[in-house]
C-alpha cells in the first residue's frame, strides 16, 4: 500500500467564516499565518520521516479552507526539504489555469525533485470557478482540452502548436520537460461517473478523495474498471486511491474527540462560504452536467451529523488506537482492494501537536502492519527514460 499525506494548510484563527461568498479576509492575521505555514511545512516534511510514500499538495482559492492557492509553490519547497518522498500534486485545478504553465511548473517540480512527482489533474470544486471567473459550464470541455495539451507539451519530441476551443498556442516547446518517462504518473479525481471514466481513459490513478461508504466507492471503481476494459486493459489496485481523514492516538477517546472537534470546525467554519458559492454554481450552471450524483448534494451535512463510530464503520475515516486503525485499513482494503491511501492528517483545526503525534503512531505502529497490502502501487513514481 502506498500512503500519501494530505494537509490542506487551513487558516484556523477564526471562529466563523460566515455563510456568504466571498469569505472576507478582513480578519486575516499575517503573523499568525507565518506561524501556521511554519507548523504546516514541519508536518509536511515530517511525513517523509514517518514513512509516508508521498506528500500531497492541493489547490483551493479564496478561503481559509486552505492557504495553498498555488500548490506548486509548496511542492517546490518540498523538493528541497525532502529527499525520498514523492510529491503528490493533487493538484492543479486544470480548467482555471494556463495549461502550458501547469505543464511547465509540474515539469520543474519533477526535475527539482529528481523524478518524484505524481501529477494530479483536478477539475476543482464549484466555488473555484467563481473565484477565477471561469464559466463553470465550460469546466469539462476546458478540462479535457487542457489535459490533452499538457500531455502533448510533456511528450512531443519537437516544437508544436495547438489550435483548440479554449487554448491556442502557435509555438510550444517547454523547458524543462519532466524527467519521468514518458511523463509523471497521473492522478485524477473519481468523484462522479464522468470523472471516473475520464480517469480511466487516461490510465490515471483515480482518487476517491472523500469516501461516503464502501458501496459508493465500489460503484465509482466499477465505472473506472468498465471503461478500462472497454479500452482493452485491466486496472489493478495500483489505479485506485482512497482518501480518508485520519486521527490516531493512544486511546480511542482521544482520537475520536480530536477528529470530532476538527470535523465540526471544518464544516462549520472552513466550509462556510464555500457551500453558498457551490450552491449558486450548481444551481445556475451545467457544472455537474446533469449526471447522476454518486455523492449526495447534502453530503456535508450528512457527514457532520454522523457519529465518529458510524463514520469508521462506513469507511469515511480512520480513527482510534494504532491497532484499531490497522484493522480499519485492512478492512477497507478487503472491501475495496485499492493500492493507495491518502490520509488527511489535519482535519479542521485539529491541534498541530496532535497531528504530529498521530503521524508518529502511524509510522511506529500502523505502517509496519499494512504496507505490504497491494505492494504494486509503490514504485509507480520515478520511472525515467534512462530505465
Amino acid at each position: 500500500m502506498r500512503f500519501s499525506q494530505t494537509h490542506h494548510m487551513p487558516y484556523t484563527d477564526i471562529d466563523e467564516a460566515g455563510l456568504g461568498w466571498p469569505i472576507s479576509n478582513s480578519r486575516f492575521d499575517g503573523q499568525r499565518a507565518i506561524e501556521m505555514y511554519q507548523a504546516y511545512m514541519k508536518a509536511k516534511t515530517y511525513a517523509e520521516e514517518c514513512g509516508f510514500d508521498a506528500i500531497g499538495c492541493n489547490e483551493h482559492h479564496m478561503s481559509p479552507f486552505g492557504m495553498m492557492p498555488n500548490p506548486n509553490l509548496i511542492a517546490s519547497a518540498l523538493t528541497q526539504m525532502t529527499t525520498t518522498a514523492e510529491i503528490q500534486l493533487s493538484g492543479a485545478i486544470v480548467p482555471l489555469s494556463n495549461p502550458i504553465r501547469i505543464a511547465e511548473e509540474y515539469a520543474m517540480v519533477d526535475v527539482m525533485s529528481g523524478g518524484r512527482l505524481m501529477a494530479g489533474f483536478m477539475r476543482g470544486i464549484p466555488h473555484e470557478y467563481v473565484a477565477y471567473n471561469i464559466d463553470p459550464n465550460d469546466s469539462w470541455s476546458r478540462m479535457r482540452e487542457a489535459v490533452s495539451l499538457i500531455l502533448k507539451a510533456w511528450t512531443e519530441p519537437e516544437p508544436f502548436g495547438w489550435e483548440g476551443e479554449h487554448y491556442q498556442f502557435r509555438a510550444v516547446s517547454i523547458w524543462p520537460k519532466p524527467v519521468q518517462f514518458p511523463h509523471p504518473p497521473i492522478l485524477m479525481s473519481g468523484g462522479s461517473p464522468t470523472s471516473a471514466k475520464f480517469a480511466a481513459e487516461h490510465r490515471a490513478v483515480m482518487g476517491i478523495l472523500r469516501v461516503l461508504n464502501f458501496d459508493q466507492a465500489r460503484e465509482l471503481m466499477s465505472i473506472y474498471t468498465e471503461q478500462a476494459r472497454a479500452d482493452g486493459w485491466e486496472p489493478g489496485p495500483d489505479r485506485f486511491m482512497v482518501g480518508v481523514p485520519t486521527a490516531v492516538a493512544n486511546t480511542f477517546e482521544e482520537a475520536r474527540d480530536a477528529l470530532y472537534s476538527g470535523t465540526q470546525y471544518f464544516f462549520d467554519v472552513l466550509q462556510g462560504g464555500i457551500n453558498r458559492a457551490q450552491q449558486l454554481v450548481v444551481q445556475e450552471t451545467r457544472y455537474s452536467g446533469g449526471e447522476r450524483q454518486v455523492r449526495p448534494a447534502n453530503k456535508d451535512q450528512v457527514m457532520k451529523q454522523t457519529p465518529v463510530e458510524q463514520r469508521i464503520e462506513n469507511g469515511q475515516v480512520l480513527c482510534g488506537t494504532p491497532e484499531m486503525v490497522v484493522n480499519q485499513i485492512k478492512r477497507m482494503h478487503q472491501e475495496l482492494n485499492h493500492g493507495h491511501m491518502n490520509l488527511i492528517v489535519k482535519v479542521g483545526n485539529m491541534p498541530d501537536e496532535f497531528v504530529l503525534d498521530s503521524m508518529t503512531l502511524l509510522k511506529d505502529q500502523v505502517f509496519p502492519h499494512v504496507k505490504n497490502l497491494s505492494p504494486e502501487a509503490v514504485g509507480m513514481v520515478g520511472r525515467t527514460a534512462a530505465e
Binding site: G161, E163, E165, R170
Partner: protein, 273 residues
Amino acid sequence: MSSDFKSLTWPLRSAEAPGRELSYFVGGRGPDVLYLHPASGFRVSDPLARLATKFRVWAPIVPGFDGTELQEEITTLRGVADLISEFMSAKISSGRCDVVGHSLGGWIGAWLAVLHPEQVDQLVLSAPAGFRAPDAAPLSFEPAVMLKQLYAHPEKRPIDEKPPEFITGNRDAIVHYDAGESRDVDLMSRVSEIECGTLIMHGTQDVRVPVDAVQMLRHEIPHSQLMYIYDAAHGLEIDQPERVGELIEDFLMRGEAFIVKATQTGDAAGAGA
C-alpha cells in the same frame, strides 16, 4: 459547388493523343495559391472558400479523380507532381506560388516542393498522407471504419453530391497511383530537401495519418511548424473548418511570423487573428 469557382480544362502538353486534358477549378481574387485535393476529390470546403476571399485559388484535379481520365503514363504521385509543375508554369503568371495540400494533396504537394522547389513559396501540409511508417497497421477502407476515422464530428460531414461513378473512380485512382498503403518511402527519404516554410496540420484524433508521421515531418523539414488541431480527425477541414481556415490564411499571409499573436485590427497582416 460554390459559384466562386469555375471549372476549366488545360490541355496536357505531355499528352500526344488529342483531347487529353487536365481539369481544374479556379476561383477567388488575390495572390495565387495552388490547392491540391484529397483522395475524396475536390470540394469547396469552408476553409477553401475562405481562402478564395483573399487569394486566387487554382485547384487542378488529379487525373483519374472526380470523373476525369487517368493518364496511363503517369502512374505515381511523383509523376503527378511533375504534371502539376507544368500546370503551374502554364497557368500561373510567375510560375510559382504558395501550395496547400490536404491528405493525398499533401503527399503531392510534398513531392512538388522536393522536385520543383523554385515553384513553391510556402507549403501547407494538411493531414498529409504518404508518410505512414512501415510498421503502421494497414489502413482500413471499410466504410463504417473510415467514417469513424475520418471525422470527429461526422454530423458536420456534407452530404456527398458526387455521383457514385466518381466515388468508384476515385478509389480506382488511389489503386492506380499505388497510394492505398499511404507510404512513399522515396518521398520520406527526401522530405528534408523541402526548403520552403511549411505548415503541417494534424487532427488530435487523426489515426489515418499517425502522429509519428507528422512528427517525422516536423523533424525533417527544416523550416516547418506543426500545429495540432484539437478535436479533429483526418477530415480536419470538416471537423474544425474555422480553426483550419484561420491557420492557413494566417500562415500564408504572415509566414513564420504567424506564431506571433496578431491584433484584431482587420488589416492585412492581422487577418485571421
